[in-house]
């Protein structure tokens, strides 16, 4: 990662879930941490999220879900990213996600899951340490 290019992150709300307090808060925290943030708004299909990632040349996709649909949506986003050749985009997630689901999500290619109460600094640090490096 060169100094002049900011990390670009898509913050997305997949599905019909309307709980966006966390997503909006993190969008603000990421911007403060020097990242370039695109917030998608609500009701995003995996196809729409991946299209945005492609258009924006994003380094990171952050998915937020509190309605229990993460097992469907999160792996699908990773899958579509790979289909588009965006294998090096870091995918992270958060929301109400039972711990027992985490191993399967990680196996599907989600890099990390952040549950309720995670300090935001921890999320920022994880992204900075794991984002792809560019020439």
């Amino acid at each position: 990662m060169t100094e002049d290019r900011k990390i670009k992150i898509i913050v997305a709300k997949p599905g019909l879930d309307g709980h966006d307090r966390g997503a909006k808060l993190l969008a603000r925290i990421f911007a403060e941490a020097g990242m370039e943030v695109v917030y998608t708004g609500l009701r995003q299909t995996p196809e729409m999220i991946v299209e945005t990632a492609l258009q924006e040349d994003a380094d990171v996709v952050g998915l937020s879900s509190l309605s229990g649909v993460h097992m469907y949506f999160f792996p699908r986003v990773v899958e579509l990213l790979r289909e588009k050749g965006l294998d090096d985009v870091l995918v992270v997630g958060g929301g109400i996600i039972p711990k027992e689901d985490i191993p399967e999500l990680k196996k599907a290619g989600v890099a990390e899951i952040f549950g309720p109460g995670t300090p935001t600094a921890e999320i920022v640090a994880f992204i900075k340490n794991n984002v792809r490096t560019r020439d």
Binding site: G15, L16, R21, K24, P116
Partner: protein, 559 residues
């Protein structure tokens, strides 16, 4: 409430105390922090005395329960007559599973039902719509057609139980289904009681379950209010909700202020329709949150009642006292629950329920301790219901009315929150009302700023949250979590296929054509919606007619 001489004596006494006893103590033991604030960030002084309530006019500002301005409560006997309605929000999976949970709750002493719908139902999509993928039956019950609703209320007599339905954009459709079932049970509409949330403004502000643009949405809202006033007189036609505003991060005062501002918009829309304020206003109800800071919550509820009563009387010229009463449901604060050390949540919920009781609620939902982890299990739901039963039966809070009145602190806080509410309402009025304020992103930004401030306080350790930033510990993985069968979606899709093949096609088409025609006119849509659900039109099909006629809402995002 004190004469000038008495106040002077107290002022002198307090100054003496500050110089002597207090001064000495402070020089030896400084206080824990320089400034104390409530969870909403409102400053809290060291000591409140009659000096802080000197401007209070008892008869004018407090009065008596069941009388204007209702600061002390909306009923003359409050919980000495009967307790609040114990109403647990529940629903998951298919209609059959939810019906079993409702019957269980009623057997356990619950006194009213509260239906949670899944997100496709709330967004007006059938279970087999592409956007419903993964969502069917997840956060509530999946309802596609009248057949599902019949199963949901199987064996539940609609003249004996009141039902609250958390449904907004498609509220007319679910109410139509409920009325169709009442008709089948032989219960006349004047005996049917319950509530639909029907509050589209807060969906646009913060909850996200909108479908149509604000203007046609408001038309549907008013159609429902108007229809019920004429045909279903015991129905609460709207539940103007601060709950989700608070969940999204607002302070206590903002929750009350923005909710009242939305309330003003609904009253105005009905008046503009030509309805007399005293005809519909008695059926308006509210829905609020309760956080753990008990005294601030009590002050919020008392201030809210006083402000609403004044607005209805002075701004809208209501003369029926029932029009001026802020009656409300409370749910304890979902966002206050922690995934860490989840049993601690039982204590939080107990304090919040206590706040709701001391504040004078009409019905209450107590959250389950496992809700930061998953949908609540039956065990957790039972503890939650018992929690409010203990508050009602054992705490003593229900033996006398508005027991915290006259507390120097609570009265001062009530006045302060009232002033903040009024300031916000003036600002929103100056912008041209709630819709204009939403359009400019003003309300959304105020809420987001508060959420941000709170998060910063937690992360800096300035505000302690047990189990999050203090008293943390290593914990074993939680077990016994409720999971919804992923197959619900497939089963519902198969049911829909069968329904579409077997229903009377001519009757179905005629009903939807009629609905389109009525929707394009100024006529009230309710009768056409009732006919459509009886003709087995699905919620998705009905909403598709409106998506076509009204268009869809796409919000501007303010981050």
């Amino acid at each position: 409430m004190y004469d000038d001489k008495e106040l002077e004596r107290i002022r002198t006494g307090k100054e003496n105390w500050e110089k002597t006893t207090l001064g000495k103590a402070l020089s030896r033991f400084p206080e824990r922090k320089p400034v104390f604030t409530s969870i909403s960030g409102m400053p809290v002084e060291r000591l409140y005395t009659p000096l802080d309530t000197a401007d209070l006019d008892y008869e004018k500002d407090l009065g008596y329960p069941g009388q204007y301005p209702f600061t002390r409560g909306v009923q003359p006997t409050m919980y000495r007559g009967r307790f609040w309605t114990m109403r647990q929000y529940a629903g998951f999976g298919n209609a059959r599973e939810s019906n079993a949970r409702y019957r269980y709750l009623l057997e356990q002493g619950q006194t009213g039902l509260s239906v949670a719908f899944d997100l496709p139902t709330q967004a007006g999509y059938d279970s087999d719509h592409p956007l419903s993928m993964g969502e069917v039956g997840k956060v509530g019950v999946a309802i596609d057609s009248l057949d599902d609703m019949k199963i949901l209320f199987d064996g539940i007599p609609l003249d004996k139980v009141t039902t609250s339905m958390t449904i907004n954009a498609p509220a007319t459709v679910l109410l139509a289904m409920y009325l169709a079932i009442a008709e089948e049970q032989g219960v006349s509409f004047d005996k049917v009681g319950g509530t639909v949330q029907n509050d589209i403004l807060k969906e646009i502000i913060c909850r996200g379950q909108y479908i149509f643009p604000p203007k046609p949405s408001m038309r549907l809202t008013v159609d429902l209010i108007d229809y019920c006033f004429k045909n279903v007189p015991r129905w609460n036609t709207i539940s103007i909700s601060g709950y989700h505003i608070r969940e999204a991060g607002s302070t206590a005062a903002q929750e009350m202020a923005f909710t009242i501002a939305n309330g003003i918009a609904y009253v105005k829309a009905c008046v503009d329709r030509g309805l007399a304020v005293d005809s519909f206003a008695p059926r308006l109800s509210f829905f609020f949150n309760a956080f753990t800071n008990v005294l601030e919550e009590v002050a919020k509820f008392r201030a809210g009642r006083r402000v609403w009563a004044r607005i209805l009387k002075e701004r809208f010229g209501a003369s029926n006292p029932r029009s001026m009463m802020m009656r409300y449901h409370v749910q304890t604060g979902g966002v206050t629950l922690t995934a860490q050390q989840p049993l601690n949540n039982i204590v939080r919920v107990a304090l919040q329920a206590y706040a709701a009781a001391l504040g004078g609620c009409q019905s209450l939902h107590t959250n389950s301790f496992d809700e930061a982890l998953c949908l609540p299990t039956q065990e957790a739901v039972t503890v939650a219901l018992r929690t409010q039963q203990i508050v009602a039966e054992e705490s003593g809070a229900t033996d006398t009315i508005d027991p915290l009145a006259g507390s120097y602190f609570v009265e001062a806080m009530t006045d302060k929150i009232e002033a903040e509410i009024e300031e916000y309402i003036q600002k929103i009025d100056a912008m041209g009302g709630t819709l204009a304020a939403i359009e400019q992103g003003y309300i959304q930004k105020e809420i987001q700023d508060s959420a941000y401030r709170f998060q910063k306080e937690i992360e800096s350790g300035e505000r302690v949250y047990v189990g999050i930033n203090k008293y943390t510990m290593e914990e074993p993985e939680p077990t016994n979590l409720l999971k919804v069968d992923m197959k619900v979606g497939e089963i519902e899709a198969a049911k829909l296929k069968k329904l579409r093949a077997e229903r009377d096609q001519t009757r179905w088409k005629a009903a939807l054509d009629k609905l389109r025609e009525v929707s394009l006119s100024d006529e009230n849509v309710m009768p056409a919606v009732i006919d459509a659900v009886k003709a087995r039109a699905t919620i998705g099909e009905i909403c598709d007619v409106w998506r076509d006629v009204f268009g869809e809402y796409r919000p501007k995002e303010f981050v």
